[in-house]
């Protein structure tokens, strides 16, 4: 009994000693994290070989520039000016002098080395935490030399994931409709490019009108709307082979297609006699299923990432609003109740939000709301903009924006823009031509 008392006493004594002072830090600065991206070091022989192979003077610094631009574009990082760097790339990669990097206020440092090994590009890189004075990540990739841009994107993805805790979105591509010519006589082609605007390829010739291209989950197929022979139909295109086919045998117009999250189905709208309903078609057995059945216009379907729900817009309440239903078409619930018209709902790959276009008092907004319709946030407002598409990590939206035509019929343009969920980081996405209807692929690697 005594012992127990003593024990209890002994347990209690240290409590006092632990009476710590606590200070709550509830604020910080939201300024981007200062990052130093050192040029990747390269030995002389490899440098010469790469110069011959890729016509690039210094592939090491080119790759570091890709990383730098990617990081900058997120708005979460502030890549420091390379002129301020005190250490040479090759030395920094082995063992950076952390004091030197701390001096220029860098909090993270990326170093790397490029070499040509057996005709292949080998890149290793390290991420250093300057303030903690340690390496926090080191990786190496080997690939064909022509893939050097992708290497830059993959490095950014890894760094981004390590420093923010969420997946990156840099090793991705965007498919969009490239537009050229006057507004009255636009030539529209399907185009695909890297997320940063490089490596553009055109997938169609521009003989017929194309709209709303969407990737499948493996990024090898695209479904889109084409006015081939003036019949608007949903088509399927294999990016590698270029083979196209019509989806389903509908006696009328099909439009607004999207893949299901498992890639096995296409969901789309089919319009006949002034009514439009949502249908799915199984790509394996070509079975067509009618999902909605309502005398109003139901369109723009988009699956939730788990495939259990579908969001779409409908004017069954009198105005165009966003609805959510189970993937079999039951349990339809209206989720948008704000003023104005809501359209083009897209379920976030993270599953937590639905992005939409809203038209209110003549202005177009891109916004997000939770999947139950609460927490509506409008991210950007403009004269005309629509068709948001999510980055694979559900943090950034890409959409297109058109400018007004002046009285002379000039000044019209259509460009791709991106905005992140904070609503502050809005940037134009570089494209070779005018562009509309973007769709973001998932991550190409892993």
């Amino acid at each position: 009994m005594k012992n127990i008392h003593i024990l209890i006493l002994l347990i209690l004594i240290p409590i006092k000693a632990f009476a710590l002072i606590e200070v709550d830090i509830t604020r910080g600065n939201l300024s981007p994290l200062p990052v130093a991206v050192s040029s990747l070091s390269i030995d002389k022989i490899s440098k010469k070989n790469f110069e011959k192979l890729l016509k690039k003077k210094n592939i090491g610094s080119e790759i570091s520039i890709i990383v730098e631009n990617n990081l900058k574009q997120t708005g979460l990082f502030n890549p420091l000016n390379k002129d301020a760097f005190l250490q040479k790339p090759n030395i920094a990669h082995l063992k950076p002098r952390f004091e030197d990097w701390a001096l220029i206020k860098a909090q993270a440092l990326i170093t790397g080395k490029v070499s040509l090994v057996n005709e292949k590009l080998r890149v290793e890189f390290r991420l250093w935490d300057i303030l903690a004075g340690k390496e926090i990540m080191a990786l190496a990739f080997t690939t064909v030399p022509t893939n050097w841009r992708r290497v830059g994107h993959i490095i950014t993805d890894k760094v981004y994931e390590r420093l923010t805790g969420e997946k990156g979105y840099f090793d991705t591509r965007i498919i969009y409709v490239a537009e050229e010519g006057p507004k009255t006589n636009r030539v529209k082609k399907l185009a695909i490019m890297d997320q940063d605007g490089f490596n553009t390829k055109y997938l169609t010739l521009g003989n017929e009108l194309v709209l709303t291209p969407r990737f499948n989950p493996t990024n090898q197929m695209v479904t889109y709307l084409s006015y081939f022979r003036n019949l608007p139909r949903v088509y399927l295109l294999d990016i590698e082979t270029g083979i196209q086919e019509v989806v389903g045998d509908f006696p009328g117009m099909t439009f607004a297609p999207r893949f299901s999250p498992d890639g096995k189905k296409i969901i789309m709208s089919f319009a006949m006699d002034g009514n439009s309903e949502i249908y799915t078609m199984d790509l394996e057995n070509r079975v067509v299923e009618k999902i909605t059945n309502h005398p109003s216009i139901d369109t723009s379907p988009s699956y939730s990432p788990d495939g259990k729900y579908i969001c779409f817009n409908s004017d069954r309440s009198g105005y165009q609003q966003i609805y959510v239903m189970k993937s079999n078409g039951t349990n339809v619930k209206r989720i948008s109740f704000g003023k104005g018209l809501y359209g083009t709902p897209v379920w976030s790959p993270r599953g937590d939000l639905i992005a939409f276009t809203k038209l209110h008092k003549g202005k177009f907004y891109i916004g997000v709301m939770r999947t139950d319709g609460t927490g509506e946030r409008l991210l950007t407002e403009n004269f005309y903009q629509e068709a948001p598409s999510w980055s694979p990590n559900g943090r950034v939206l890409v959409f297109y924006r058109e400018t007004k035509t002046n009285s002379n019929g000039e000044g019209f343009s259509a460009k791709l823009w991106s905005i992140d969920l904070t609503g502050y980081n809005e940037r134009q996405v570089k494209t070779e031509t005018d562009a509309s209807d973007p769709s973001w692929s998932s991550l190409l690697s892993n």
Binding site: L20, L30, L33, G75, L76, Q107, G165
Partner: protein, 270 residues
Amino acid sequence: MNRSIVISSGFHILLVIITAMSLPFLSKELIDLPPIVSVELIQITDKTNVPFAPKAKKIIEKVKKKEKEKLVSEQAPPKKVKKEKPDAVPLPDKKIEKVEKIENKKQNPEKIDNKVKQVSEFEEKELFDPNNIAALIDKSKEETAESTNKLDKVTQDQDKNLDVVGLSLSEEDALKAQIFGCWSIPLGLPYSENLLVRIKLQLKPDGSVIKSEILDHARMNKPGQKFYKVLAESALRAIKLCSPLRVPTTGYERWKDLQLNFDAREMLEG
């Protein structure tokens, strides 16, 4: 002989195990105490540490005496008590000192103004109305009753423990302001997650950090908690960046161990 050695060593081992196992839990409990009243108030006097003017001291003593003599009624005083003659009294420095002392006794931060008025009035008239004082005491007791109950002994017998507890408001603010500037919150964190990182620091007298320790260290490597690691690292960076911390110049014993709670929720949700 053997038996007692066995028993003895048995208990020793048990002790070690209990100490090692239980301390974090116990300390957690303490840490979770509602900090409001104890932290803010008590220390101000201590920190300011200005000697009382003789006159003021007398009055305070008188008040104290009265306080002891009077049996405190449990009823709340009429509200007008605290509102009377608001503009009548100038607030020279000496008087503020007195106020702090009184306030300290009563543990009620919101009352400062009223007390200032009261005390200065007393001073002017060289007498005071005991009923008023009693009423005031009453009032403050009533209002703080709830929070007092929750506090540990430290607050109960504050007079002795004042110097062991917390930082003053201004000290805390200085430290906070410094760290606010150093902490780059990772903006990619998911909302609606538990975004609290608690870090225990061991400090040198000049405020530089000897040791920093993340209290929920286990969480860093749990699957699906990647963001927590990111957040914890950002907090550690902030501490490094801010080192040496802006700590008070005195009372090293008080703050040589310090816990910082980095909470990103407010920033990310708002």
